[in-house]
């Protein structure tokens, strides 16, 4: 790791000021992605601004048609939140599928989406649920937030404070893990809203998370795995590496999308019985 100057921000305003003031400054939340990158010298910020001691950034608050989750909420907190489990069980499940227990105790929602790793799970949830990313400056729709590999719409001194997730009628996330790293080789989040269906894919896109309009259209007609029969995704623009070729990832997208739709329907059938 290259050396850096460490700054502990006491509040959001101070953190923003530090980002503007210091040369080549980067925010650190849980550090579960940034620290490994700094160790490998893939990242070498001159100044590190720690958000860890700022109070009130990890609240989880239900609203009428959405849940607001603070940027510093850990994956553990989201997974175990009674509010999230009740209102958006698919999101609680997704949080419990990130990394493993010790990583979930440190990693945060805001850190994950600001980093926008192409294999991260949260970006798929944000996109499929039509989330709004709330920052110190503005509200950014998820569709405009994820702009490419490790790239987002965030300005240099802009800080994510919370994410607002609209509730879905039905939703589920399915992930096919790399057997060694356990990262998503493909992850598919489907969400059925009152007016539309959204399908978001992580792990597979060479430019990061993306939606599949053909799947969404078919599912809007009929929200069932059968509606996706015969539909395929082109391998163009997908990642191919030693773990999985682009055509294999394309195949997995179809399989996991059908499984996700089935899981979303099954969950609703179960809760109807209760």
């Amino acid at each position: 790791m290259y050396n850096f100057i460490y700054h502990r921000a006491a509040g959001l305003r101070q953190a923003q000021h530090m980002l503007g003031e210091f040369d080549d400054a980067k925010l650190i939340a849980g550090g579960q992605s940034l620290l490994p990158m700094m160790k490998l010298r893939l990242a070498a910020p001159a100044n590190l601004v720690d958000l860890g001691k700022i109070a009130g950034l990890s609240d989880i608050e239900p609203d009428v048609r959405s849940i607001s989750i603070g940027a510093m909420a850990t994956h553990f907190e989201v997974h175990n939140s009674a509010v999230v489990q009740e209102a958006l069980p698919a999101l609680a499940e997704l949080a419990g599928m990130i990394g493993e227990p010790a990583v979930r105790h440190r990693g945060t929602l805001g850190g994950s989406i600001a980093h926008n790793d192409p294999t991260a799970d949260y970006p798929a949830a944000c996109l499929a649920l039509g989330a709004t990313i709330i920052t110190t400056e503005r509200r950014i729709p998820a569709d405009a937030f994820f702009t490419g590999l490790f790239e987002t719409a965030l300005m240099p001194d802009e800080i994510i404070t919370a994410v607002s997730f609209p509730l879905a009628e039905k939703a589920a996330y399915q992930k096919f893990r790399n057997p060694a790293s356990r990262y998503a080789m493909v992850g598919v989040f489907v969400a059925k809203h009152a007016s539309d269906v959204r399908v978001a894919i992580t792990g597979a896109g060479a430019s990061g998370v993306f939606r599949v309009p053909a799947f969404e259209e078919a599912l809007q007609g009929r929200f069932s795995p059968e509606a996706l029969e015969g539909l395929t995704v082109s391998a163009d623009g997908l990642t191919g590496d030693l773990h999985a070729s682009a055509p294999y990832r394309a195949h997995l997208i179809g399989v996991l999308a059908r499984r996700a739709v089935a899981a979303a329907n099954e969950r609703n059938d179960r809760s109807d019985e209760l």
């Binding site: 790791m1 050396n3 850096f4 100057i5 460490y6 502990r8 650190i28 550090g31 579960q32 620290l35 490994p36 160790k39 590190l48 720690d50 860890g52 001691k53 553990f76 990394g99 493993e100 227990p101 010790a102 990583v103 105790h105 440190r106 790293s181 356990r182």
Partner: protein, 165 residues
């Protein structure tokens, strides 16, 4: 150099450190608590797991400065005097180790697991929860057995021990 103040196994620690100092380095190199291991240094193997404010974390992927004001428990902080923690005793009784390198991380993860999942742990749960801890000797069978036994033993542990936790 920046200073850091935290508690390690109940003892206050104040140190001037290089900002790059990882929590595991502070524990091993400054405090000579070498029960916590560095296996992979990439947050995959889990041999560096310690508890930070009661939650398992990988101390190779936490800056010491991030741990300001927290309470850290390491494997050295589990036993009460000469009496092993029930989870340590269970690993001993069930031969839950071979070379022992991963063991402190396994035990710290196991104690955290019991706190979150309770005392009746089935094999499936234990194996899932061990996703972040690698053992390259045992094939995990006796580790899983140890954790199930340790979890049960923690339930009937003496009140002094339970109060300490």
């Amino acid at each position: 150099m920046p200073t850091v103040s935290l508690t390690v196994n109940g003892n206050p620690v104040h140190a001037d450190i290089d900002p790059r100092t990882l929590l595991v380095q502070l524990l091993r190199e400054n405090l000579r608590l070498t029960g916590t291991r560095v296996g992979c240094d990439t947050s995959q193997c889990g041999s560096c797991v310690v508890h930070m404010d009661g939650k398992a974390v990988k101390s190779c992927t936490v800056l010491t400065l991030q741990a300001e004001g927290t309470a850290i428990t390491t494997i050295e902080g589990l036993a009460l005097g000469e009496t092993l923690h029930p989870m340590q005793q269970a690993f001993r009784d069930n031969h839950g180790l071979q070379c022992g390198f991963c063991t402190s991380g396994m035990i710290m993860t196991a104690v955290d697991m019991v706190r979150r999942k309770g005392h009746a742990l089935d094999d499936h749960t234990i194996r899932r929860e061990l996703e972040g801890n690698l053992c390259r000797c045992t094939g995990y069978h006796n580790i899983v057995k140890s954790i199930a036994a340790g979890a049960r033993a923690m339930e009937s542990a003496d009140p002094l021990r339970r109060a300490a936790e």
